[in-house]
């Protein structure tokens, strides 16, 4: 059994699985049930000035019969009185002293407001703070959440104010609704953040009802943009985590959030630099018990690799993530079809024929049996065929020798002089 404990920016947790600040962490009852189920930490549903929520609030994106490929919400921060939340945080921490309880905070971008809430919450005993600069709807209209999270100076300033009052680590949660997330991450670090977490939800409209022509979800016939999360956002989140992880000036731990549904997603985020992960949608879809396999699967994976603790995993793939200009232009893979595994659905053929490089031939053997073959000399190694292939092992992308490595950047440097096309 590997050691799954984490020390994330000084916050101790029995495992790297935290519930993200969201409905699953709305109350003491829920967070305590989550800890009983095995979650290592919980970021409490964002605390702040009392708000009013609307009904309805959520929408799912279903894809090809699969429920909740993505999830959209127009919910705001906690709608419960601060005093009630604080009482429950206190009780929870008392019952689970070894679990991580982090308070998510959002107030107006004013120094005194930040000081006030940090002090109040700190008094009941939390292991850390997460500053919510990400909520893309409702709060943004009031100059909070994503509105302040999109302006680097505001991120820096507010982080600084929170840090002035905080005695426990401060994590800054970033919004993905920005062109370059490393800019706001850098601002958070400048403001003194002990860690950063990402991503919050992405601006979204889940859908339009094609019968009523109203938005999904709708509130008395009207809709407003919401925040998107769940499996569909994982690649976006993973890229943002990786971009921050490989940034030379961002030397704080990262809590990875966005579409994490199982231990495999967790491994990927950790390899790309996440020190712990947070989960919301997957728990909302299936309940707290999913953490059991997350822990078990991660354990078995680490044991299988002979890795004793998470340090052996965190950030180990970051060095493989680079800029396009550093990719070897001479590297070549081609598709190879294993005809004994292939079931002849011809999906690779039509994908390559219609939308790639027309190099998979549908042939007939002497025996009369149909088979598929790649003309390797024409294959550009795009992977499309192996992506659409429904059977594991039917198409391999194989490396073929193709000269000395040469990246675009090296090539440009070698050419030196700009090419004139006129």
């Amino acid at each position: 059994m590997a050691d799954l404990r984490v020390n994330f920016a000084g916050i101790q947790s029995p495992n790297p699985f935290w519930l993200a600040s969201a409905p699953p962490t709305n109350s003491g009852y829920q967070v305590q049930r989550a800890f009983e189920a095995g979650w290592g930490g919980a970021v409490w549903k964002t605390l702040g000035e009392p708000i009013l929520n609307v009904s309805s609030r959520f929408a799912g994106t279903h894809f090809n019969g699969q429920r909740v490929a993505g999830f959209n919400n127009i919910e705001l921060i906690t709608d419960r009185p601060l005093e009630e939340n604080l009482k429950e945080i206190y009780e929870t921490k008392k019952r689970f002293p070894n679990h991580a309880v982090i308070a998510s905070l959002m107030v107006e971008p004013k120094q005194e407001k930040w000081h006030e809430i940090v002090k109040k919450v700190q008094a009941v005993g939390v292991d850390g703070f997460e500053l919510n600069f990400g909520c893309p709807h409702g709060m943004a209209e009031r100059g909070m959440g994503a509105a302040s999270g999109q302006v680097p100076e505001l991120v820096e300033k507010q982080t600084y104010w929170a840090k002035e009052a905080a005695e426990v680590p401060v994590i800054v949660k970033l919004t993905p609704n920005i062109t370059d997330i490393t800019a706001t991450a850098y601002a958070a670090v400048q403001g003194g953040a002990d860690a950063i977490s990402m991503i919050n939800t992405i601006n979204s409209l889940a859908g339009v009802d094609i019968d009523s022509w109203k938005t999904i979800p709708n509130v008395a016939g009207k809709g407003a943009h919401g925040g998107y999360c769940g499996p569909a956002v994982k690649p976006i989140a993973l890229n943002m985590v990786a971009e921050c992880a490989r940034h030379p000036e961002l030397n704080v731990p990262i809590s990875g959030i966005g579409g994490i549904s199982n231990w495999q997603d967790t491994v990927e985020f950790m390899l790309m630099g996440a020190g712990c992960v947070q989960v919301c949608t997957a728990a909302m879809h299936h309940g707290f018990s999913i953490v059991e396999d997350m822990i078990d699967g991660l354990n078995n994976y680490l044991d299988g690799k002979g890795i004793a603790a998470l340090d052996g995993l965190i950030g180990k793939s970051v060095h493989t993530y680079s800029d396009w200009g550093n990719l070897d232009l001479n590297y070549k893979v081609v598709a190879r079809i294993n005809n004994d595994v292939c079931i002849n659905c011809n999906k690779c053929h039509i994908a390559c024929e219609d939308t790639s490089h027309q190099c998979i031939d549908m042939l007939t053997a002497e025996s009369g049996a149909a088979y598929l073959k790649v003309r390797e000399e024409d294959c550009v190694g795009c992977n499309l065929c192996s992506i659409v292939c429904p059977v594991d092992g039917a198409i391999d992308m194989v490396e073929i020798p193709n000269g000395e490595p040469m990246t675009w950047n090296e090539r440009q440097a070698a050419i030196k002089l700009p090419i004139c096309h006129s």
Partner: protein, 461 residues
């Protein structure tokens, strides 16, 4: 048929009608969507090639997944005018589902059940899926309103022909309406298909037997073309003693008796022997069980290996508790004094040298005669042909199998075309609804080709 999905396995003796309810339930909407999402949407899909009517299966399945059920039903019925019946009666394991590439990776898609789901939608929503074409002034007569005749009529009506179907029975649909067991194909499905075709303006004259109620000559004279789609006739004589006894039935008539209420109560608790081991014999046996028979035996002169029934039909009969007596040849039907069947005398057989069909010829074992008690005997040893009708039409035939030019679907009389079981011959596997439908469709297209080609020739003169 998917035996694992079969519900309704108990036989009620109080309410026989229950026993004839459709045994495999409809897919639920959720099952249908899940199953359709499993379809790979193959390119150049083998299932399409395996369907005799060439339904674009991946297309109709994707439409179920996208919630376009009307479009889905249309794709099916476009290629196959009796696609709702076929969804239930086709031996899909041998056709589309047998060709599904997922047989090699997981489980084949339940194509038949998805086809049923889509066509059910059209039935429940009473959708008229096709329109009649603009009248072109040509008139076509169709003899027989079974799958072949209906299919031809549907296509011709869409092409603008004025079509009259002459049907001997009270209702159209042929064996779909009268011959295929209700627990696989409820009559209303076939009747919906008939209605779809009637709504295109096709005139269906029921209770009109050609050769009796209307003369062949009239048809030939009054129509521009005639399609013979009369199917096949009764089960042949066994040619053994006692065949005239009361309680000896023709399998096709026996099954027909179960298609229209009321159900015959006389077989409850009785012993029934079915002679033969093809699909019709299995149908007669499973109907016997559902009519409340206490014991049902099938006797066949060859072995399990040579039986022509499909594997799933055989399994189904076994599940129904039907007993099989292999290498058993009926010799004589024994009747009591009143002339009622009492028993079947049989003789044991052994397999000898292969015969013309390649199957080993069974030969009687001398002195091995024995008696099987029976209250009723059902003969299911194939079907005879409507020889007199064929000869009245003056068509060339081979033992009642009407000869056609496979390109033009014309018989030896160029004005007369033929499709369906009338042209179905030995050594071609089983006669199927789906092939009858395809032949009907192709015949209609051939007729149109003929007439439009004629027109072209006329214009160029």
């Amino acid at each position: 048929m998917h035996l694992n999905r079969v519900k309704n396995k108990t036989i009620s003796l109080d309410n026989l009608r229950m026993n004839f309810q459709e045994i495999e339930p409809d897919l639920t909407p959720k099952e249908a969507v899940e199953e359709s999402n499993r379809c790979l949407y193959c390119y150049d899909a083998p299932c399409i090639k395996a369907c005799p009517t060439g339904i674009n299966i991946p297309s109709f399945i994707k439409k179920i997944a996208s919630g376009n059920l009307k479009g889905s039903a249309r794709v099916i019925m476009e290629a196959n005018p009796v696609g709702a019946s076929c969804a239930r009666v086709c031996p899909t394991e041998e056709l589309c589902e047998g060709a599904c590439v997922l047989n090699h990776a997981s489980l084949p898609i339940m194509i038949g059940n998805l086809q049923r789901h889509a066509t059910n939608w059209a039935i429940h929503n009473n959708e008229q899926l096709f329109k009649a074409g603009e009248k072109n002034g040509k008139r076509v007569a169709v003899i027989g309103g079974g799958p072949a005749g209906l299919s031809a009529a549907r296509e011709l009506a869409r092409l603008g022909y004025e079509v009259t179907i002459f049907e001997a029975k009270e209702k159209a649909g042929g064996l779909d309406t009268y011959g295929i067991v209700s627990f696989r194909l409820p009559q209303e499905i076939s009747l919906w298909e008939v209605e779809q075709i009637e709504k295109l303006g096709v005139n269906i004259q029921t209770n009109t037997k050609v050769g009796k109620d209307i003369q062949v000559r009239e048809l030939i004279e009054n129509f521009d073309a005639v399609i013979l789609a009369a199917g096949m006739s009764k089960v042949p004589m066994l040619g053994i003693d006692g065949e005239e006894a009361e309680g000896v039935f023709d399998a096709i008539e026996f099954v027909e008796g179960t298609k229209t209420p009321p159900l015959d109560q006389q077989f409850i608790g009785k012993k029934i022997v079915v002679i033969g081991a093809g699909n019709t014999a299995i149908d007669a046996a499973t109907c016997s069980v559902r009519l409340g028979a206490e014991n049902v035996k099938m006797v066949y002169r060859r072995t399990e290996k040579e039986m022509t029934a499909y594997e799933f039909e055989y399994e189904f009969a076994k599940q129904d508790g039907v007993e099989f007596r292999w290498l058993t040849q009926p010799k004589r039907i024994i009747a009591d004094k009143s002339g009622k069947v009492e028993a079947l005398e049989c003789v044991r057989m052994e397999l000898g040298e292969p015969d013309a069909s390649g199957r080993r010829r069974p030969v009687p074992v001398a002195g091995s005669e024995f008696i099987i008690e029976a209250d009723a005997i059902v003969k299911a040893i194939g079907q005879t042909r409507y020889l007199s009708l064929i000869e009245e039409l003056g068509l060339e035939h081979n033992n009642g199998i009407v000869k056609i030019n496979t390109k033009t679907h014309q018989t030896s009389n160029p004005k007369v075309y033929a499709a369906g079981d009338v042209i179905f011959g030995d050594g071609q596997g089983e006669a199927m609804v789906v092939t009858a439908a395809q032949q009907g469709k192709l015949t209609a297209h051939a007729i149109h080709q003929q007439f439009t080609a004629d027109k072209v020739t006329l214009e160029s003169v």
